[in-house]
């Protein structure tokens, strides 16, 4: 298993992870996706993303339950108590991460048109109007 799953715990992250064949954050330390001595989630998440993509894995992001407008308007440097929203911001700010991520909403995989309608696109694309 080298894919990882993201999303809200209260929206059923564990079950979502099982459905897409990925691991979720409570399994990542044991899988070696981040070091046990990380200082905070910012460092742990970056390690997990990098190690997943280096191993050829993909990211499955369940947007169910996330207020996307609120998430995207939040402080991208602050993750505490808004972990999933911050993770979404980090992914759309990083081209390699975004290109390796599959987004889902209410059990359905989203295509690029649906993502644009939700204002989910690479920040660089948004800036150039692509």
């Amino acid at each position: 298993m080298c894919d990882i799953a993201l999303g809200l715990q209260e929206a059923g992250l564990k079950e979502f992870a099982e459905s897409v064949g990925g691991s979720y954050m409570s399994q990542w330390e044991e899988l070696g996706l981040y070091d046990e001595d990380v200082e905070g989630w910012g460092q742990a998440f970056e390690q997990a993303m990098q190690r997943t993509l280096e191993a050829g894995g993909r990211v499955h992001f369940n947007l169910t339950g996330i207020d996307i407008a609120v998430a995207l308007s939040g402080d991208p440097n602050y993750w505490v108590d808004r972990h999933a929203a911050w993770e979404l911001q980090q992914i759309i700010a990083t081209q390699t991460w975004y290109r390796s991520t599959i987004f889902y909403l209410d059990g359905c995989r989203l295509d690029s048109k649906q993502l644009r309608q939700l204002n989910i696109s690479l920040e660089t694309d948004s800036a150039t109007g692509e």
């Binding site: 954050m25 409570s26 990542w28 330390e29 981040y34 990380v38 200082e39 905070g40 989630w41 910012g42 460092q43 742990a44 602050y78 993750w79 505490v80 108590d81 972990h83």
Partner: protein
């Protein structure tokens, strides 16, 4: 029955501190003892920290004034995060949740030093 809730959500540099505890207090038990119980599903993790925080408060309030006939603390929910929560954070949060429920000022109270990111439990 009294209810108490407390939450910490703080990011200091690269470190995160997050935890929320909800609990209920009955100031009478059948045999006058101190009883601490946890919800099996909603308060399954970080019980060690929560128990320490609760015991710390009970050590620093007047038993005769506050719970002369015993006390039952039921921790209904402990919320946290895999990296930004640990037993130390939850000890501080649970202590403050209990103080909130009791509505008393203890002789000593735990402190969160936000400059250094350290938690202090004075003896």
């Amino acid at each position: 029955m009294k209810h108490g809730e407390f939450k910490v959500a703080k990011q200091i540099g690269a470190k995160g501190y997050f935890g929320r505890v909800r609990l209920e207090v009955d100031q009478v038990t059948e045999n006058g003892n101190v009883v601490v119980e946890f919800d099996d599903r909603q308060a399954a993790r970080w019980q060690t920290g929560a128990r320490f925080g609760i015991d710390y408060v009970l050590d620093h309030v007047s038993k005769r004034a506050i719970f002369p006939n015993g006390i039952r603390v039921f921790v209904g929910a402990i919320e946290g995060h895999d990296v930004d929560t640990d037993n130390t954070v939850i000890a501080y949060v649970a202590a403050n949740a209990l103080l909130s429920a009791l509505g008393v000022e203890p002789r000593k109270r735990p402190d969160f030093d936000e400059l250094n990111g350290s938690f202090v439990f004075p003896k």
